[in-house]
């Protein structure tokens, strides 16, 4: 087949959900660092969110499955460590989707801006760690709902 444009590949990857937080795509998460053709091989560079995140291998498998499904035969996935992933790379679309899903998006101040359920700012940190390496556990003091906060790194 003729080489598809890298823009097309980015669009395809934007349809691949994060395995742990399926409302956002891998592109929203900011972990796809580069897509390029090297002769007849499509090279996709991926950076891990956390070095021990168990989703990393699933993510690689999902990328491969999606791109092979679109007819890409020669594919190489590269691990790129530097620059290290930062939550600044979350897309605006991704941040909005996180909040709609009930996960407070990362804030430079180091804690959630408001409760994703009721909007209250009366919040309490329960634990610096949550259900996945990228999240912390918070609670709203008004609606009393516990919620995940996407850690800012």
């Amino acid at each position: 087949m003729a080489q598809v444009s890298t823009e097309q590949v980015w669009d395809w990857l934007d349809d691949v959900p994060d395995p742990e937080i399926p409302v956002i795509s891998l592109v929203d998460l900011g972990i796809i660092r580069d897509v390029r053709w090297e002769e007849d091989t499509l090279v996709v560079s991926v950076t891990p969110t956390y070095s021990g995140c168990p989703a990393t291998s699933v993510i690689n498998l999902d990328i491969e499955t999606a791109l092979r499904g679109h007819g890409i035969d020669k594919l190489e996935l590269r691990r790129q460590l530097s620059p290290a992933w930062t939550t600044d790379w979350l897309s605006q679309k991704g941040r909005k989707k996180l909040e709609d899903y009930g996960i407070a998006p990362p804030q430079p101040a180091g804690g959630p801006a408001k409760c994703p359920n009721c909007g209250s700012k009366n919040l309490q940190k329960v634990s610096q760690f949550g259900s996945t390496p990228c999240k912390a556990h918070w609670r709203c003091q008004d609606c009393l709902e516990p919620f995940d906060y996407f850690k800012c790194i």
Binding site: Y50, S51, G52, C53, P54, S82, S127, Q128, F129
Partner: protein, 253 residues
């Protein structure tokens, strides 16, 4: 000692520290005092194991005989490990586990901060990645040490006992030998001895806030980072960690 031999030793020291501490912390999985702490400990262990894959993966590349990070973790015996004794010490109670974590995190964060400017880009990029995770570990272990020590009479006494027990293992992190000299000469890593002042300032600040008393003596147990003599605890740890590969050599899924 050739440059590559020294580099290999250095990488094993970094990777074995995170591997052995990561395994120790993972022993709490399902046993921590409350669910949130259980999850926090498991996540810390996960970060450390992830960093281990990077360090021991690079160590295997430098060794150049086709081995992998998994081979390095599961197919070496106690005398091959290069972790400091501190990280192989038993968990004890929850307070002792968090004190050990704090004493290591403080060193780890300072060391990784230096390694970000390593002349070897492979080392620098691992340090850049790991230092973000370790800054988070340090914040949590420091806060928890303060919270427990400046807590009840019982929790204070336990934290002071943990500090008294573990402090004689701190000095080993700052010893220097021929491996370190080679790493310094090549611009790959700093002289560990040069990190002590910054460490003392950091640990001193937290210990004061925590209302604890730092032991006077500077005597240090040693023999882990050069592999001369580990404690009896490492072998017991390996019987658990390496059980599957020993019972079913080559097993994979």
């Amino acid at each position: 000692m050739t440059h590559d031999e020294a580099l290999l030793q250095f990488l094993l020291r970094m990777g074995d520290n995170t591997l052995i501490l990561g395994h120790r912390v993972s022993e709490w999985c399902g046993h921590a005092p409350v669910l949130e702490e259980d999850i926090a400990l498991a996540n810390t262990a996960l970060d450390l194991i992830g960093q281990t894959q990077l360090w021991l993966g690079l160590a295997a590349d430098v060794q150049g005989d086709g081995k992998t990070a998994d081979d390095m973790a599961f197919l070496r015996d106690a005398w091959d490990f290069r972790n400091v004794l501190l990280v192989e010490m038993p968990n004890g109670d929850f307070g002792q586990t968090l004190m050990r974590q704090f004493l290591f995190d403080a060193w780890h964060s300072i060391m990784l901060g230096r390694l970000i400017t390593s002349s070897d880009p492979r080392v620098a990029e691992i340090a850049e990645k790991a230092s973000k995770e370790v800054a988070y570990h340090l914040e949590r272990s420091g806060d928890t040490v303060v919270g427990l020590a400046d807590g009840t009479e019982e929790s204070h006494a336990r934290m002071q006992a943990a500090l008294d027990y573990l402090y004689p293992y701190v000095g080993e992190m700052f010893l220097s030998d021929a491996t370190d000299a080679e790493m310094v000469a090549a611009g790959i890593a700093p002289d560990p001895a040069g990190l002590r002042d910054e460490y003392d300032a950091l640990v001193g600040r937290i210990v004061d806030t925590a209302t604890l008393t730092l032991p006077d003596g500077r005597f240090t147990h040693k023999g882990g980072r050069d592999g001369r003599m580990h404690t009896e605890h490492l072998g017991h740890l390996l019987t658990q960690m390496q059980w599957l590969q020993r019972a079913y050599p080559g097993a994979s899924w």
